[in-house]
Symmetry: C2
């Protein structure tokens, strides 16, 4: 028989029963699957029982309601608990619960937004809280809606630096709409955590970072209730609830037993475990719905004319400068565009947006993991985030970018200071692996403009593009070669030089387009015309144009890029050309040595990707 | 005239003069270069003056002396200060100092180990301290030598989560040989840091993480002296010295002025700046040398017989299991081998080493940035570190891996749970971009064994290999297909099936080798023999064998990999084959959809990389 619980009727007894039901369902689903993390679910069952039945404001029938709270399982491996919560809320059936981890089921091993009530994929630890910071930033500063962000954290993941980035930013931005619930069950995967049950350690840290901290017995519903109430009552600061719990709570042979991480109860032992937990009362929680509201507080898409900046052919401007100017223009035409930066906005040029639209600019300081996570969080709230840093430093956030793709997040990343062309700062500041990294993200888009007009047009395209969209910009100024009237669509390319007698095709992108033009001028004097293709859209790449050019030039192709040889433009070209079986005479020019300091020209030359290397490669092919 | 300072004679007056000289040289070198970070150098000049002349123990003539202290500039952009320190120590001439940032100079924009006194490259913020933790771990637990690790940190980089990973681990491991010196100059690149001059914030955090903290005026040599003395006197805990400083200290138009980050003094203003700093006395510091010692406390290389584990053909074992067993064997034969893990040692199987050699195993908990950094730190001290985690989670440390290559570090990374073959846990746990990521690291090696004997042999090879060496292992057990007597060298491949009539070549690696074998069996029944190449060495790849196979099979080649299509085995194959101009009929099978949960077989099939997809691809080519 089904029993209803709601906010009015919930009390200690119901909370205990509900928590036991969540434990029972966590065991049943994971034993059914033959894998999963029941013990990590059982420790947090009381915490969720009280949250679900008294504090959460969520309309499971209308996950799109902007007033809904956000519940993020940063410890994504506690998915059996999350799915058991969904069942208790009446959102899924017991039958569906029992499809846990089956092929085709949306109830995957770790939560993903294939489930409509899941905001973001978790399962790589230390990501839920920084993303929660992003959602809370949107709630407080963009939506200005009273929803709350609840993040269930594991104690093992407190070792991830990204958690402390989140602690710093949440306090700095006074996110009183954010509550982190620490399921301090003491046991990690193989051993005790660094801090065990020392709740005072976590409390001291949280307080030192500017949070309110409260330590409770995580199996005492009344203490839990009190802690949530306290969290709601902290103006201008986030709260960490440190709940001392026991992994596998409620079953004698699981509770606080080391070596049980990520292990389901065997079928043989299942009944014994369930017996210890008592009868499930088939409780159904009537989760309090938020005010239905009147739709979003902002307009998506263009709300005015988009007046992109333009430059005259022959002007000099850095593509990063064009990024800044175009982003500012986009900000004027769309109120859903927001910008974030890793405290290098005067380098990436996002400062232009920041100065014009300070209410939609978020300084994320030198914390690239939090930078990307905040963008993901704002994407959850349907904003169009542009996050910028040096392209090299997005490597710091690669796990977050990878997971953002699993989250189906729509974020735009602008990475400046690409390649050896940056000059004197040296290799630590040079992105030389960013194209490989960003191409190898599911559904990603990778763009590299070579001039300012192209960069500005691509920034506008980025706003319309779903998925993970990466723009690679240059530090030095480059000549404007395209008329402001030209169009640049994602997936396209521009044929910069072309004749009927081209001896070879040179495929370039970004800075190397300009080297290719210099090479073409030199080769022309020797009577060797070449075709130059500006592959500004590296993924998707314009395979048709590349294959046609290869055919037209007898399969003689040079690819030249300011990037390591692996995974970049050259291999993208090879992949595109491999769709045709014609013989290929291929020369790949890429950065072949560890660069040092020097001028842009010296370093391009030393790396083997300057105009004279292109000339040599073409001559070699022409003589073949 | 040159004046000598040494530990005996150093005092307030000399410290002041020396600090001014360091400021003068920081300005001169960066103005000469036309770029660089003088103001970030000037704030820390007093801190370095006292350190160099009284506390540092370093023999600049013998940087290989194991007793030398380690001085790491985590704020690598303060390179003008570091190089000015080298000049003051008599290690470089003024003439060399003035080559700062010139092409070919070892005095690059950010420090790298091209300079013999630099342990590791810095310049990506938040890395020096976690690497310092690695060096200090080696000092306390491996070398057991009294050297100290001094790390100069910037206040902007305190926003990086990796710093707090370092704080946690340094305290957990009681690293009393580690001192972090925080140059709290308040100003970041574009604005004030989150904490400004609130030294109490940093002190509270450091103490909450278990450190000793001391707050001082960073321009008062006596307070600095006292702080260093205090740091030396803290048994079993590291010390953070929070030095309140002023960026650009000593020059009125630079000091505490916003907007001066990363800007050299103009040539016009240089003299005015130098005039304010007073006359440089051409001070030369006689840096105290450590005990010359009697060489290293350990033997490098093999010290005994290497008895690698073996499996019989037809046995089933996971390559991760073979990794663990082989690492244990390696540990028995070499005392310079150490292992580290990100608290998943029962998954990666490094637990086998941990159990046998607990003194050489370091648990780095769920902190992949610190995991890789500690390995880099141990490489500084000439150990042969093997760091393991899920391959997917090495994405968390990509910036550290990238920088480790610039550091010329020799580290081995073992990433388990590669690809969709892991099964039910879902995409958050699946490495599908790791090959792309690791190939695009300068000088890296990327290996993926398909059976246990091969894995074990490759683990032995890894120990002998310099640079960043990555091993990709599988979760599921796979059949042993190679006899224990077979050899597998890095850069090689194995031809698993071959005949004179092969209709096509299938190039596979790891799990897909087994799918290819199933496909070959099926195709053989239809009278279509194929060649199978096991490309276990993905970088360097065995281009000769691949090209020969392509020639032998009419250019008909299938590459099949459990990885996204970009930057992995397929593109490595295309790069190798592009060295020849023959026509190529290429089919690339890679993970083309976002996977979910399911069995290994279901997911391989859904991803389009199972045996029947290989059969289809071969049939398509055969019919071409």
């Amino acid at each position: 028989m089904t029993q209803q619980i709601n906010q009015e009727t919930a009390g200690t007894e119901q909370w205990h029963s509900l928590a036991q039901q969540l434990r029972i369902d966590s065991i049943r689903s994971s034993t059914g699957a033959g894998s999963g993390h029941p013990t990590s679910s059982m420790s947090a069952a009381d915490l969720l029982a009280v949250l679900l039945s008294k504090y959460l404001r969520y309309d499971f029938d209308h996950p799109e309601n902007p007033n809904n709270d956000h519940l993020i399982f940063s410890k994504g491996h506690a998915s059996p608990l999350l799915y058991s919560v969904y069942k208790a809320a009446g959102a899924i059936s017991d039958e569906e619960l029992m499809t846990f981890r089956e092929f085709g089921s949306r109830l995957q091993g770790h939560p993903t937004p294939q489930i409509p009530w899941v905001d973001v994929a978790t399962g790589s630890l230390g990501q839920g809280l920084p993303i929660g910071v992003g959602v809370a930033l949107a709630g407080k500063y963009l939506d200005r809606l009273p929803y709350r962000v609840w993040v269930l954290c594991g104690d093992s993941e407190m070792a991830e630096g990204s958690m402390w980035e989140a602690f710093q930013h949440a306090a700095f931005y006074k996110l009183d709409n954010l509550t982190a619930i620490l399921d301090m069950n003491r046991l990690g995967q193989t051993r005790e955590t660094m801090d065990g049950w020392h709740g005072d350690h976590y409390a001291a840290r949280a307080e030192a970072f500017g949070w309110h901290a409260v330590q409770i017995d995580g199996h005492d519903p009344e203490q839990i209730d009190q802690a949530y109430a306290e969290a709601l009552d902290q103006p201008d600061r986030p709260t960490l609830i440190i709940a001392q719990t026991r992994k596998g709570r409620g079953v004698s042979f699981l509770e606080d037993v080391d070596g049980m991480h990520g292990k389901p109860v065997s079928e043989d032992q299942e009944q014994a475990a369930l017996d210890e937990l008592g009868d499930a009362d088939n409780l159904l929680v009537e989760v309090r719905k938020p005010d239905p509201g009147s739709g979003e507080n902002f307009t998506a898409g263009l709300t005015g004319a988009l007046n992109l900046p333009t430059w005259e052919v022959g002007d000099e401007e850095a593509t990063r400068g064009a990024y800044g100017a175009a982003l500012k223009a986009l900000g004027g035409a769309r109120e859903d565009v927001v910008a974030l930066d890793g405290e290098v906005s005067n380098s990436t040029k996002s400062e232009e947006f920041a100065e014009e639209y300070p209410d939609r600019y978020f300084e994320m300081f030198i914390s690239e993991q939090q930078l990307v996570s905040a963008a993901v969080g704002m994407s959850v709230r349907h904003r169009v985030p542009f996050a910028s840093s040096f392209a090299a430093f997005f490597t710091r956030a690669y796990d977050f970018i990878r997971m953002a793709a699993i989250s189906r997040a729509n974020i735009r990343l602008s990475g400046s200071h690409a390649g050896v062309s940056i000059g004197e700062d040296g290799p630590s500041q040079m992105a030389l692996e960013d194209i490989a990294m960003m191409r190898a993200v599911h559904g990603s888009t990778v763009l590299q403009p070579c001039d300012a007009n192209q960069a500005a047009k691509l920034v506008a395209e980025m706003a319309e593009r779903d998925g993970i969209v990466f723009l690679r910009t240059l530090r030095p100024k480059t000549p404007v070669i395209y008329d402001p009237s030209e169009d640049f669509s994602i997936g396209g390319s521009k044929t910069v030089r072309s004749s009927d007698d081209d001896a070879a095709t040179v495929i370039a992108s970004g800075i190397t387009v300009h080297e290719a033009i210099k090479a073409a001028d030199e080769l022309k004097e020797s009577g060797i015309p070449i075709r130059i293709i500006d592959a500004y859209s590296i993924k998707p790449i314009d395979g048709d144009t590349l294959r046609e050019a290869a055919r037209a030039t007898g399969g003689k192709v040079v690819a030249v890029e300011d990037h390591w040889p692996e995974g970049g433009l050259g291999e993208a070209v090879l992949s595109a050309l491999s769709e045709e079986a014609d013989a290929l005479h291929f020369e790949h020019l890429a950065v072949g040595i560890m660069p040092g300091s020097g001028s842009s020209a010296e370093l391009l030359d030393a790396a083997g990707i300057s105009s004279h290397h292109i000339v040599d490669a073409v001559r070699k092919l022409a003589n073949d």
